[in-house]
């Protein structure tokens, strides 16, 4: 039993008192926001609203300071070497696109290889694919092995074979958004670095499970979205080691990212500004800083063991419901259960759960190639967060039982 007080944790989230009928298990899509985040965003617009890095007036200076403090807050959270290594983007997708675009236009040459895995979200597939054909870069995919019962994992022998081809980039997700399985990143990244590859981590699902330490994790880039870490939507973080950020060709051109513009050519500004064209999502950055301060007041290990308890309770309960086909395993899982009802389409199950006010996601979870490998048309995903209560797990199991009964007609 964990010492984490889930009921007290939940109290911080106004959504649950204002929408009490919902059981929210779509946390892999987005998490709810604690009052501290809502307050920070509201306070900015009410009292501090101004653009950053522009005005000579005091308001702009204050806004700039707050925005840069938020950057420092993220830097400390990830244990990055300096705050200039933290780039604010619109989300993980934008960050991955910037990395892929930036490396394709600077570092990569025809014939170079990029390694991704079978567990990737579309954002870590398509962002590379967009350029592969044009630049003659080859995309390799680490295949899956195992099964639903013991858990699908990446085939690490196959990974080693791919590494022997000396890829220039290895880009991996921290946690599968579709199945919840945690990748053995520490060793995989070390192996990639040993081959001289640039390493990229998609932390969209992983950040709420395990905060990386950029001084020990062998990642050159790490990205995540604020809204999956109790922060606002529309903001993401692109962490990069300075030497690699310097090499990235900017994806977006515009204000603040340049040092000098003429109609003939432009000289880019210093980091982090050169990768932050246009007015950033200032309020969201302050919101993310508030989210990080909020979550940092809780013990990360206790949160982890509480999530494992939620997962175990759900898994144990599912054993008593006939005809459930699990796609995700309980072991080595960051809090996601993906399943189907035997012979039924996930869209139907999702409708029946929605009717009972259980918020889940049905479909292929932006991981179509993975679902092709698993040979199912999709699945329903239950994703747990620490504000979920054990009583909600029970209610969800009852709702699932009801749905199965109706579908059995």
């Amino acid at each position: 039993m964990s010492d984490f007080n889930a009921a007290a944790f939940r109290q911080h989230f106004p959504f649950f008192t204002e929408q009490p009928e919902w059981i929210y298990l779509d946390n892999a899509a987005t998490t709810h926001k604690p009052a501290a985040v809502l307050d920070a965003v509201g306070l900015f617009y009410r009292q501090q609203n101004s653009n950053v890095h522009r005005g000579t007036h005091l308001l702009s200076e204050t806004a700039t300071n707050l925005y840069e403090d938020a950057r420092t807050c993220v830097q400390k959270y990830l244990n990055a070497a300096e705050s200039a290594e933290i780039i604010f983007t619109s989300g993980t997708t934008a960050a991955l696109n910037q990395i892929a675009y930036g490396l394709m236009h600077s570092v990569l040459k025809a014939g170079d290889r990029v390694v991704i895995s079978a567990l990737e979200h579309h954002a870590n597939i398509v962002s590379w694919q967009l350029h592969c054909q044009r630049f003659g870069v080859i995309l390799d995919v680490i295949p899956l092995q195992g099964d639903a019962a013991s858990g699908y994992q990446l085939d690490l022998n196959a990974y080693n074979k791919l590494l022997s081809l000396n890829p220039k980039v290895v880009s991996l997700t921290q946690v599968s958004n579709a199945l919840g399985c945690i990748l053995p990143l520490e060793n995989m990244l070390l192996a990639a670095k040993a081959c001289g590859a640039i390493t990229v981590v998609d932390g969209a699902q992983g950040i709420a499970w395990q905060v990386p330490d950029m001084q020990t994790l062998a990642a050159d880039f790490y990205c995540f979205s604020a809204h999956k870490l109790y922060g606002p939507t529309g903001l993401g973080v692109l962490y990069g080691k300075r030497e690699w950020l310097e090499k990235l060709t900017p994806l977006l051109g515009g204000g603040e990212m340049i040092e000098h513009v003429s109609f003939a050519r432009s000289r880019f500004n210093q980091l982090p500004a050169r990768l932050e064209a246009g007015t950033p999502s200032i309020a969201a950055a302050l919101g993310l800083a508030a989210a990080i301060r909020f979550i940092s007041t809780f013990d990360a290990e206790q949160i982890k063991s509480y999530k494992r308890l939620l997962l175990k309770t759900f898994h144990d309960g599912i054993q008593h419901i006939p005809g459930i086909n699990l796609l995700s395993a309980q072991q080595n899982n960051a809090g996601i259960v993906t399943l189907n009802v035997q012979g039924e389409h996930p869209a139907d199950l999702a409708l029946l759960l929605n009717e009972q006010r259980i918020a889940v996601r049905a479909g292929q979870h932006c991981a179509m190639p993975l679902f092709e490998l698993l040979a199912v048309p999709g699945a329903v995903r239950f994703a747990f967060a620490p504000y979920n209560q054990l009583t909600e797990v029970e209610q969800c199991l009852n709702a699932l039982t009801q749905a199965v009964e109706i579908l059995a007609l």
């Binding site: 389409h345 996930p346 139907d348 409708l351 029946l352 049905a362 479909g363 048309p377 109706i406 007609l409």
Partner: protein, 149 residues
């Protein structure tokens, strides 16, 4: 099974749905009964055989795959459809929608207030823009078929 036979069977099924099932939906039902009815209703609609489920008939924009085949009877200027979905409840909802549309002329379809029809059946939420159940995508496809003919 010929296309002609399927069109006849679909039209018959849709008439039965309108006459027998829709009046039941207008009554206050608990949600379990409502969904049971939707599934039964979907079963009444003939399936489109696998070999006819070609990509060009696939309606995108749904969590589940759905197919729509269109037939324009130039003799009476009316439009007839075959419809199928791999999800059973979704198929029931699509069948209800089709029961209002099948056999209409382009002019009649223009005058049809589908939102109101769904309201009367206590099914209003299923027609909203944001739903990924595919009803809206299907309606768009039907309209495109009719105006394109």
């Amino acid at each position: 099974m010929t296309m002609e036979q399927l069109l006849t069977d679909t039209a018959t099924a849709l008439t039965a749905i309108r006459q027998q099932d829709l009046p039941v939906l207008q009554q206050p039902l608990d949600w379990q009964s409502k969904y049971r009815l939707l599934m039964q209703l979907g079963k009444k609609l003939p399936s489109i055989p696998e070999k006819m489920r070609q990509n060009e008939w696939l309606v995108k924009g749904c969590e589940s795959r759905a197919w729509l085949l269109h037939y324009h009877d130039s003799a009476n200027n009316k439009h007839y459809f075959l419809l199928d979905s791999e999800a059973r409840i979704v198929k029931g909802l699509l069948a209800i929608m089709l029961s209002f549309i099948n056999g209409l002329s382009q002019q009649e379809l223009k005058q049809l207030d589908l939102q109101r029809a769904f309201d009367a059946l206590n099914l209003k939420p299923y027609l909203s823009q944001s739903r990924s159940n595919g009803l809206n995508a299907m309606i768009m496809r039907i309209k495109a078929n009719i105006t394109g003919s």
